[in-house]
Structure formats: C-alpha cells, structure tokens
C-alpha cells in the first residue's frame, strides 16, 4: 500500500495527540473520583461534629472552649493535686504560649530523612521523636526551664512510695485518642470513627509492649526490664512496681506514654488479634501508617519523600498552640534545604549547612540575607558530643599516659575554630557542658606537643632506630607506634583527622585515617576491630553512665562500652548512681565520675556541636528550649502582616 511520507508523519502526529488526550481524560476522571471521596469524608466529619454539638446542647452544657476536657469540678481536682506535697509533679514554670499570639497559618519546616514508620515505641529516630512530641503526650513532661522537674501532662498526680519502687499514676479524665486518618470511605474502617478515651489500660499496654521480648523496642528495653508488675487500679489510675529502686525508674515511668491498646490488639477490620500474637504483630502493625496520640496536633498525612503534615487538635486538653498546620518537608540534601528557605518554600531550617554558615553569616557582606533582615538565625546546642575513642584492650592504648599524650597532641580548640567555624564547645567529659553534673573546675587538657612527647617517653615509647616512629617492646616484640583511626566518613571529620595526623607525626606517631560509612563502622565496633575510632553520643538530661561506662558493658555483644573502660571506682559510682534519687547527691557523684573519666582519658573528648537555625521573620516568638526538642514550635506564631 503506497503511503506518502507526509501522510505517515501526520498519522504519527494524530496518534500521539489522541494518546495524550486519553491520558489527560483518565487522569481527570481519577481526580474527580478522589475529590468525591474526599468531599464525602469531610461531610461525614461535619455530620459527626454537628451530632456532638447537638448532643452537648441537649444535655445543657454550653459549647465553649475546652470541649474535650473535663468540667469545672475535675479542673479543681487537678489544681489541688499540683499543690499536694506527695505529688512528684511540680507546677510548670514555662509558659509556652503567648497570650497575644496570632492564630492560624502554616509552618513549613524541614526533616532530613523519611520517617521509617510511626510506631512511637519501636521507631525512635530523632525525626520521628520530634513528630511524636507534637502528636502525642506523655504522662508527664520535663519543665523546659528546669529540666529536673516533671510537670503534668496526661497524668495530674504521681505518687511514689518511700522506697522509690511503686509509682501510682492518675490520668486526666476525658482525654480522647485522636481518630486515625484512615480512609473512611471504606466501610471496614467504620469501627475506628468513634473517639475513645485514654484509660489506664492503654498506659499499662505501653509497658507491656516495651517489656515483651518480641517487640523491637531496643531503645527502652534495658530500662523497663527491672519492672516487676503493672496494675490497673481503676479506669484512670495505674501502678508500676519496680523490682528494686533504680534511678532511671523515675524518668522511665514518668516520661512514658500510653499506647492505644484497643487499636493494637485489632487488625484492620477490627477483629481481635489472639493475645500471644499481639507483641509479634505490634512491630508491623498496620496502624503505624495512621499514628494517633493525644497531643496538640493531629497526624494528617505522610507522602514518602514529600512531607508529613500535622493539623491542630481542636480537642486538645492543654493550652492550644497558635499555628494551625505544620508541614515537615522531607529534604535530604542540606543545600536544597537552604535553597528552599531562600525561595520561601520553607519557613524554618533546623540546621544551616556549615559552608553556608561560613559564607552567609560569618563572611557574609552587607548583602547577605541574614544581614539585611530577610532571614534570622541563632546558634543552639545540638545536645551531643564527639570524641575519639581509644581501644583500651589493645596494648597500644592500655596505658593511661599514652591516652593522655594523645589528647595533648590533639589541637582541639584550633580545630573547633578553624575547621568547624567555631560551631562547637570544647568538651571535657561525658556530660552536657551546661548540665550541673559537668564539673566546671575541670580544665580542658591543653594542646601541648612537648608534654605529649614527654608522656610517651615516660611510657616507654622511644624512637630507638631513628626512623622517626617511636617503638616499644611489648611481650618481647618490638612494636612501632602506628595505628588506624576508624573514622566516620564526613567532610568535617576528614579535615580534622588530617590536622590531627600531622600533629601526631611531629611526635613520632603514625596514624592512618580509615574513612568508612556508618554500617561498616558499626560492624567494626561490634567486632572490636579497631585501634581507635571517631564517635559521637547524643546527650540526655538524665545521666546514667551505666550503658557506656560500666565495665560489664565492655564484653557484651553490641555493648556501648566499646573502648573497654574498666575502673573499679567508676563502677562503684555508676552503681551508686543507679540507686540515688537525690539531685544534690547525684551531682556530687556525677562530678566525681567526670573527674575519673578526665584522669583516665578513655576518650579524647572533642566538642559539643552547635547548629545554626535559620528562619523567616514572619515567624514570631521563635524561642528555643534547653532540652530536646529544642526547636519545638508550640510557642511560635505566624504574623503575615508583620514583615
């Protein structure tokens, strides 16, 4: 069949156009469908709200403010409980929410990774914990101004016996779980519609799950294993009994939170799961996609690699935050985060990339958006510290003088100033530098190569063969002082390791930097395949050095005492600390512990990192807290007019 060239072209063209039109029409009808479902859903929501308002009107209660909370009588009870001397909870001194705050608006902030699911107990990455702090509430929370104090959250009253082993906790009444944001157009979800009250059952369920060996709650397992029994006393009261008095029972009990037992013991259709299977299925329970809590914000939606959206909870029992909606944009490249801030796609950046801090703030000319007032910034503590750990099980670093020499040869202050642009505080021990436990009288070990050389000479490390490297005879063998520093592969680490290596070479030590990724690094540490490594610990306000420093932790698989620190006095202090509840006494013990660690130098403590937060000035009342989550947005508000 003869066909002209032009006709063929025309045919192809027509086909393409038809295909495109088909795709568009399919997409359009799909979208229309989705919208109809959504409209249906919001109609359903509306109906339920109306019903509730009507029923409340009928029962003669005015529809005002505190809809979810209890009536006046229980409020009085809560107020009285706060003044009860037996109550472990103290009145809050932190007034988070400003009275003149502008209501409404959307806060767009950043998280740097995709959440791995929203099961509050098994998932404890920083990002998910941050989201949890908005969506859920604990029994108590730490006072932001005075983190040693616990203030009321879901519980209004906590009593403990004199031995510090029995905690009796009374929960507020009339607090309801959020309704999970499932697709209600599907009738199988009907059973989830009705809001349910938080009960002591839910509270106990948290501990049961945390203690169950089948639940992958690695982060809290060790803390809850000393619990002896759990009792539900009545609908809103429960009791946690510990086998013996341990200090961490205090925050483990009080900072815990309820988990919805009615949800986790049922499958998607609402059928009961057999009791033996509940802990196993807990890890992968379907509801982790629709997390619920009792907090000031409702979990709205999560688009993978897109964003996590929270909306304000109108039935929240506490003071309601001004901002209506929070979007956590998931952005993996820090540079992209900064670009989005500049192009107004983000309001708040929790951590400005270090090179940007240097170019825009430190060296930024008058044109810099941080100088012109286009953006604001502040430097806050990241609540962590970095260190170099010495494997004390290796003959090389078994000698305390050698480790001390290594710290003397480590030009820490200069590295902080020149490599990380001053975004760090020199660390002398394992505690947060502003925590009372950090002994302020301890002077940082100065950078002093001569002193280091002297210490090495004294320890028997002398360069006898003149090749520039020190030697020592260990077990009849002549060993050179060469070792490998297993380092975390990051540009900053690479730069400072080079500086350190040069300084060590000057005193006759050859160090090789081996830069590896995190999974490999973990493996090497688990196998104890290292001479020394670069590490970092996140800090907590409650100090329990057991995990990292007790000698028993040096030889268990995956233990955290990787350097093999074994010190009898330290062990004794750590054990005493575990049963000491008095803050004064604790501070004394912790300071003594700090001194021991300082003398022994199992780590060369390096620095506590600081981060630069940056935000658009349309955010008002941007205050930061002393403890995590430091950048909680509850007090903030958005003032569009105030630009």
């Amino acid at each position: 069949m003869p066909r002209t060239f032009k006709a063929t072209l025309a045919l192809i063209g027509v086909l393409i156009v038809v295909a495109l039109l088909a795709i568009i029409s399919i997409a359009q009808s799909y979208q229309a469908n989705k919208k109809i479902i959504e409209v249906n859903r919001s109609l359903g929501d509306l109906n339920r709200t109306t019903e509730r308002i009507l029923s409340q009107l009928e029962s003669g209660v005015a529809v005002a403010g505190n809809a979810g909370g209890g009536a006046g009588a229980s409020n009085d009870r809560y107020a009285a409980a706060i003044n009860d001397p037996d109550n472990l909870l103290s009145p809050a001194t932190d007034q988070l929410i400003a009275p003149d705050a502008v209501q409404g608006g959307t806060l767009k902030r950043l998280i740097s990774s995709d959440p791995k699911g929203f099961n509050w107990l098994t998932e404890n990455s920083v990002d998910v914990s941050e989201i949890q702090s908005y969506v859920h509430s604990g029994f108590a929370r730490q006072d932001f101004n005075n983190p040693d104090n616990f203030v009321s959250d879901l519980a209004y009253m906590v009593e403990v016996n004199d031995e510090n082993t029995e905690y009796t906790i009374s929960l507020r009444e009339g607090v309801y779980w959020h309704v999970p944001r499932v697709d209600f157009s599907d009738p199988k979800h009907e059973w989830l519609r009705e809001p349910r009250e938080v009960t002591a059952e839910d509270a106990v369920f948290y501990f049961e799950m945390a203690m169950s060996p089948q639940v992958e709650a690695g982060a809290v397992k060790g803390y809850v294993e000393d619990i002896e029994k759990l009792e539900v006393l009545d609908k809103h009261t429960f009791k946690v009994t510990w086998k013996r008095p341990v200090y961490h029972s205090r925050f483990t009990t009080l900072l815990a939170y309820p988990l919805p037992k009615w949800l986790f013991s049922r499958d998607r259709e609402g059928n009961e799961i057999p009791e033996e299977s509940v802990p196993v299925e807990f890890n992968t329970h379907w509801s982790a996609d629709y997390p619920i809590g009792t907090g000031p914000y409702l979990f709205d939606s999560y688009t993978p690699s897109g964003q996590v959206v929270l909306t304000k909870n109108r039935d929240y029992f506490g003071a309601k935050p001004p901002i209506e909606r929070i979007e956590f944009h998931i952005i993996k490249d820090p540079e992209q985060g900064f670009a989005r801030l500049l192009s107004d796609q983000l309001d708040f950046l929790p951590s400005l990339p270090e090179p940007r801090y240097r170019s825009e703030i430190l060296n930024g000319g008058p044109e810099s958006p941080f100088k012109t007032g286009e953006f604001e910034h502040e430097i806050i503590d990241a609540f962590a510290y970095y260190y170099v750990g010495w494997n004390m099980d290796k003959p090389l670093f078994a000698d305390r003088d050698v480790r001390l020499a290594m710290t003397h040869a480590f030009n820490r202050q200069s590295i902080i100033e020149n490599v990380i642009n001053g975004l760090g505080e020199l660390q002398t021990g394992p505690f947060y530098y502003e925590h009372p436990a950090n002994d302020p009288t301890i002077e940082p070990i100065p950078f002093d190569l001569e002193k280091a050389a002297e210490l090495l000479d004294g320890a028997g490390w002398v360069d006898t063969d003149g090749d520039g490297i020190r030697q020592k005879t260990i077990n009849g063998e002549n060993v050179d002082f060469r070792f490998t520093l297993t380092s975390y592969n990051k540009p900053t680490v690479r730069s400072w390791v080079t500086v350190y290596r040069e300084d060590l070479r000057k005193i006759g030590i050859e160090m090789r930097g081996d830069f590896v990724e995190w999974p490999l690094m973990q493996r090497r540490m688990d196998d104890k395949q290292f001479d020394a490594f670069t590490g970092g610990w996140g800090l907590s306000w409650f100090n329990d050095p057991y995990q990292i420093w007790h000698s028993s932790q040096a030889d268990i698989p995956k233990g955290s005492n990787r350097v093999g620190f074994r010190n009898a006095e330290a062990d004794e202090i750590i054990e005493t600390l575990r049963v000491t509840f008095d803050n004064e006494e604790r501070t004394q013990l912790l300071r003594r512990f700090h001194q021991i660690v300082h003398e022994e130098q199992p780590y060369s403590f390096f620095y506590a990192p600081k981060q630069t937060v940056a935000w658009n000035p349309r955010l008002e009342n941007v205050v930061f807290q002393k403890i995590r989550p430091q950048t909680t947005s509850l007090p903030w508000y958005i003032d569009e007019s105030g630009e």
């Binding site: 568009i24 791995k116 699911g117 192009s343 670069t534 995990q547 030889d555 268990i556």
Partner: protein, 497 residues
Amino acid sequence: MFTYILKRVLLMIPTFAIISLIIFLVLNLAPGDPAAAANPDGTETVSQDARESYRIFKEQFNLDKPILLNTRYGLTIEDVEEPLRVVADFQRPVCAEGAPVTPECTPADERPMSADIIAAQEEVENYGNYAVPHLIALAQNHERLDIRRLAVQRLAINAQRPQVDRFNPDPSDELRESNRAIAAENNQLRSWSIPQDVTPEDVDTILEEKWLPWFNANIERFEYSAADKVGIFFFDTRFAKYWENLLTLNFGVSTVDRRPVFDTVMQKLPYTMTLSFFSILIAYLISVPLGIWSAYNQNTKRDQVVTIALFVLYSLPSFFTAVLLIQFFAVGRPFSWFPAGGFISNNSENMAVLEQMGSIAWHILLPLICLTYGSLAALSRYARTGLLDVIRADYIRTARAKGLAESMVVLKHAVRNGMIPILTLLGTLLPTLVSGSIVIEFIFNIPGIGLYLYESIYMYDYNAIMACLLMSTVLTLIGLLLSDISYALVDPRITFD
C-alpha cells in the same frame, strides 16, 4: 525470527540468574551489616540492650543463614561446645596471681578477648535450631557446670522458631494460626531459662521437667533425612530464600522501614519515569535535527562551532550545573523563576489536572536540563555519522538527479536510512527509564528510584538495592533484545533466520 526471539528469551533466564547471583554475592560479602537507622551527623543515642531485637532482626531477614550453601545439618557437638567454652571461660573469675589453677577460674593469660566472646555468642546464635540437639546433649553431660548452665540458657533462645512470612500484610487464617502457635511456643521456651547461680540439680530438674519432654516430643524437627540434608544444603540459605521470594515476584521487605520493597519501588517509579521519558524525548528532538544539520554542513565553521559547544556541555558534570542552575534561577540570585526542587507543588491535590501538569513541568524543567544536555553530544554525533554514511550513496544522487527538492532528498531518502542506528539505540535506553539519576534526584529532592537506591546503599538495605538493580537488569536484557529486533524490522537487509 520467532525461533530467534525464543532463543534469546530463554537465554535471558540463565543470564538473569547469574547477574542476580553476582549482585547478591557482592552485596552480602561487602563488609558491614544492614543498619536499622541512618546516622547523618555521626552521633548515636544510647540504646539499651537491643540484643534480642537484633537477633529477631537477623532472623527475619535471613541474615543468620549462610550466604550460598548450608552445612549446618552436620554440626558436631564440638562445633557448639567451642563457642560455649569461650563464653564460659570469660564468665569465670580470673585466677588470683600465684594461686593454683582450679576449674573454678580462668588463668589470666587464657581469658578470651572481648572480640572473641562477641564472635562466639554470634556464632551459636546463628546456628539457630540446628544447635538444639547438641545443646541438649551438652546440658545433660558436660563435665563443667557453667557450660551446662550456658547450654540451657542458649536452648531457651536457639529452640525458638521464627515467625513465618511475618511481613505479609494480609495473612491467611492458617498462617495466622501457625504463627500464633509459634509465638505461644516461643513464649514458653523462653521462660525455661535458668539464672547464673545454679546447682547441678537445678540443671537436671529443668532438663527433666521441661527440656527433655519437649525435645522428645519434637524430635522429628531435628532429625534430617538425606533429602532434608540436600534441601538444607541448597535451600536454607540467604540466596535460596531470596530466590524463593523472587519467583513469586516478591522482592522482599526493606530492612529499613519493613515495608515491601516492591510497593516502594512502584510508588517511586512514576517520578523517575516522567523525568527519564522527557529527558530522552527532548534529547532526541534536539540532537537528531542538530546531527542532520551538522552532517549537511559537514566541516564548515558552523559545524565545528556546534561540535565544540556540544562537547563543552558534555564535559560539564551535571551535579555542578545543577547547583549553578538552582543558584541562578531558583533562589533569587538573580532570578527566582523556578522552584528549588521537588516534583510538584504542595497543594497539588486541589489543582485541576492541567494545573498539575503545569506544576510538574515547572518543577522538572531544571532537572530535565541537567539530565538532557549531557547526552546531546553523543546522540547528535550518531545522527551525524548515520547521515554522512548515506548522503553520498548512489540512490541519493539518483534522487537529486530525478529533480526532487533538496529538502525531500534529505528528509525522505537520506534521513530515513541514516537514522537506523539511532533508532536502535532507543532499545538500550530502556533501563534508564527506571534507574533514574542518583545525583540529579538527590540535588533536586525528587523522590524517585535514584534517590531510593542511594539511600538504600547507605543503609545496606539489601532487598531494596537488589530490587532496583534487578529491575535495571531485566530492562537492559529486554532493551538489548528489542534493539536487535528493531534492526531487523527497520532494515530489511538484516534477518535472523
């Protein structure tokens, strides 16, 4: 032709198997383990004794199994005793200096290193069920009490069975029931452990009352026939388990978020496919005419300028251009015409379809530029040589001699024949449709396959990496086949018969 295609398709199967074996081996032999969490800033939180969780994790993802071949059915009692002895030696107090060496203490110089203990514990743990008969025997008969005690403690862990098909989102009733039974049995076995300070009688009691009756009742689990042994040898391994899933098109579950990898890949595919499709389309739309034009103006100044310009573009790394483009056109230095990244605007759910398409186009223009310009040079060179090959052919001269218009000569006669090689190249581009670009997706924060692969590699998420790579493999194989077939279709001179 048909036999040819059939042969090729059949050949693809062993090729695919071998490729998957190679990828699997490289992944599994690489040092390091799948990590449960990323650690971007290099700080850890103190996590409390996650030992049991770690064991379950290993078990779920078959990481406790040998990689290729399993000989654990032939474990001897010595294999199991050895690691127990290491742990027991470590747990004994060290002999006081000068005091005589007694069985109650370990001489100081024989005390195992902590790395050895960790390895020993891991070893017994990985033996799983296979060690159970030997642990029973050790608990009954060993001359050292501490080893008997350890054997009982190990039994309480090793005798447990893993849950079957645990991540199945929609388990059948039988599966539910069998898992419930396993969970119930595990709970029981776990409780039959004993504390550190026990007498020989305690060990005897728990053995008599609990372990021996249980062991005898379930003895068939631990007796392996010759057929069982062959089965275990080949099939109770990481690789076999992986393939078992693969045969049912199941790519397994991500070690990171415990979701089926296949779902995640499907969800990310549209982003990558949109980008790659338009990138290939635009690359062809620009480079084919450009190549023809170059060939037509062969060796003139204009041709040289275009060639040099294309090669300059070719040598600019795309991550560099990407950052520059964002700087110039997205963040207001000097322009903010385009968004700095992402695939679609946030409020897209409220947009009409055309608006959505507009929003996507606006978002992906910059990434598209970065993805496309690099391939222009190669493609236009192909087009240019393709045309040069035919432009001096006799039939072109004939066409001109017939008095056809020059445009007709070039477009109809020369181009149609000269473009054969460039058409067949299309087949080989198929895999790029799904593999995406790691760098561009990272810089522009586009949630596609490239970014997913990048993250998975950092987390050692074996199943996810395998899924991404195997998809590319399949498409490469298909693409090669298609391009071979298209040769025959386009050019009648080529046949496969």
